[in-house]
């Protein structure tokens, strides 16, 4: 089976069910059959870089089983490409876990998007179970750890937004990344033209480009916005975490990183720093980080400008 071994699947062999999603770059269909699979069909297949999509599929195939399980649990990663003739038309992925969805008052199912963590609850989406302050902090940790791991795998996530990170607190806090065909290997081109979400762009990045550094900025947005339940806060403004989400030590550490995230590219906190700050560990200032005191130098022992007199050769 191709979702298992990563080999291309011909489009005509898929039994497509209902269309369940409609995004800017494509549509998502249910795939009838085992495995709770979905098919993302690209709207403009001629713009797709099939080699890069194959590279993402191959990356998953190359992981050790435990890592592949984690990737499948925490992301909707491309399992295999779908092809029609010689053209790549889309890919197969796992459906998001049921725990990452909620049911509206009319009975239809919606994804538990990050957006429901970013503002005070409204009656229209009261069925979304809101996290306790401790669960909110745990969700931020889960997201930071996921992005840190993806960076460690040599990936750039690219588009981080309120719509492509799902979350749940049942049975425990967990997150799930969508739109993983937007992820790329560091230094490689994207599968499709880079998508960017309004309110989630890195102001210092060249438009249309993403890097590990822009990921760091966007994860800072995610951390600050979830902790403060504010969809539009950004580094440079004061962070106001919800009461009870962070203790004093964590709040102090998180604020420092939040401020640092407003600094130029290259200076932004990496994801390990966020993880440590959120864990509430004290940091130890290392003596070796201070420049060593240099011994005094006796300058008279070195050559240098000197005063020469003149010697008269006459009597």
């Amino acid at each position: 089976m191709s979702p298992v071994d990563g080999a291309d699947v011909p489009l005509h062999t898929l039994a497509l069910g209902d269309r369940i999603g409609d995004g800017g770059q494509g549509e998502v269909f249910d795939v009838t059959g085992p495995g709770r699979l979905l098919y993302k069909s690209y709207r403009e297949p001629h713009k797709v870089d099939g080699r890069e999509l194959a590279a993402l599929v191959a990356l998953r195939q190359g992981l050790a089983p435990a890592d592949r399980d984690r990737l499948d649990r925490e992301t909707a990663w491309p399992l295999c490409r779908v092809v029609d003739g010689g053209r790549v038309t889309g890919f197969l992925m796992h459906r998001a876990p049921d725990s990452m969805t909620w049911r509206t008052s009319r009975g239809d199912t919606r994804l538990n998007e990050l957006s429901y963590l970013l503002r005070a609850p409204k009656a229209a989406w009261q069925a979304v179970a809101q996290p306790t302050p401790a669960e909110r902090q745990a969700l931020v940790v889960a997201a930071v750890e996921l992005f840190e791991w993806l960076h460690a795998l040599g990936l750039v996530v690219g588009d981080v937004s309120q719509a492509n990170v799902l979350w749940t607190v049942r049975p425990g806090p967990a997150v799930h990344l969508l739109d993983c065909d937007g992820v790329r290997l560091v230094g490689r081109p994207p599968v499709l033209e880079q998508a960017d979400t309004p309110d989630w762009h890195d102001p210092l990045a060249v438009p249309g480009t993403v890097t590990v550094d822009s990921d760091r900025y966007k994860v800072a947005l995610l951390v600050g916005r979830v902790l403060s339940q504010d969809a539009y806060s950004a580094p440079g403004r004061r962070l106001e975490p919800l009461p009870g989400v962070l203790d004093d030590r964590r709040e102090h550490a998180v604020r420092a990183l939040w401020d640092q995230a407003a600094e130029p590219r290259g200076e932004r906190p990496h994801l390990g720093q966020w993880r440590i700050a959120l864990a509430g560990r004290e940091t130890i200032r290392l003596a070796a980080a201070e420049p060593a005191v240099r011994p005094p130098v006796d300058r008279t022992k070195f050559d240098g400008p000197r005063r020469r007199g003149r010697i008269s050769l006459r009597d």
Binding site: G24, S105, R110, R119, P198, Y232
Partner: protein, 221 residues
């Protein structure tokens, strides 16, 4: 915050009685459901419902759809005064833009979905229309005609896009369901391109074609 206000300016004259008015009234909860469960869209858009017949009535003043759980229904009766509709709309737009700005928001040019099933029964409507389109906050108007509406009138009212029901293909009620879906899609997709701080502006997303309607070319007129 950048706000995009949407106005539904809906004919509720006597000829809309029965299936047509029921179709719109049944579609409003769908529109509310779609927008109110999507907080990113609800944050950046506002919605106002104005019904018009002999006079125009603001049934739902401009609101964040996630803040309401009921809306006054449209009720058919009377004639079709376009003039009062446009005068009421202009008053609302001017007051609403000022109120949003006073709350610290920035406001994009309002968008109006205009729907009528007949010809205007008042004579001075073109003057009222002129005042609306020459006003400072002249909205973008997408006009839909069903039933007895005249294509030339609908094309006159629209300044962005115009659609006429395909008589033989669909019933007015079916066309109105499509009209409401198109309005909902427009709100959701337009909001998707709006940044809270304004950013690079936004794209007003309005369907090029709507099932059950033919697109009226505005360039011809």
């Amino acid at each position: 915050m950048q706000i995009l206000p949407f106005y539904l300016l809906c004919d509720e004259s006597g000829s809309m009685i029965g299936e047509s008015i029921d179709a719109i009234n049944r579609a409003l909860p769908d529109l509310h459901h779609e927008i109110s469960t999507n907080p990113t869209v609800a944050d950046k858009t506002r919605f106002c419902l104005i019904g018009f017949s002999d006079t125009a009535t603001v049934l739902q003043p401009l609101v964040d759809l996630s803040d309401i759980d009921e809306v006054p229904a449209l009720a058919a009766g009377g004639l079709t005064s376009y003039g009062d509709a446009f005068r009421t709309l202009l008053r609302c737009v001017e007051a609403d833009v000022a109120a949003l700005k006073a709350e610290g928001h920035e406001v994009y040019r309002p968008v109006v979905f205009f729907l009528s099933d007949g010809i205007p029964t008042d004579e001075d409507w073109e003057q009222a229309y002129k005042e609306l389109t020459e006003s400072r906050f002249c909205p973008k108007i997408i006009a839909f005609g069903i039933g007895e509406a005249q294509e030339s009138t609908i094309a006159h009212v629209a300044n962005f896009r115009a659609f006429m029901q395909q008589d033989s293909a669909v019933s007015p009620a079916q066309a109105l369901r499509e009209f409401a879906s198109s309005l909902t899609r427009s709100i959701v997709r337009s909001a998707g391109s709006i940044a809270a701080d304004g950013g690079d502006g936004f794209t007003l997303a309005v369907d090029d074609t709507v099932p059950g309607f033919s697109t009226v070319s505005l360039d011809k007129l």
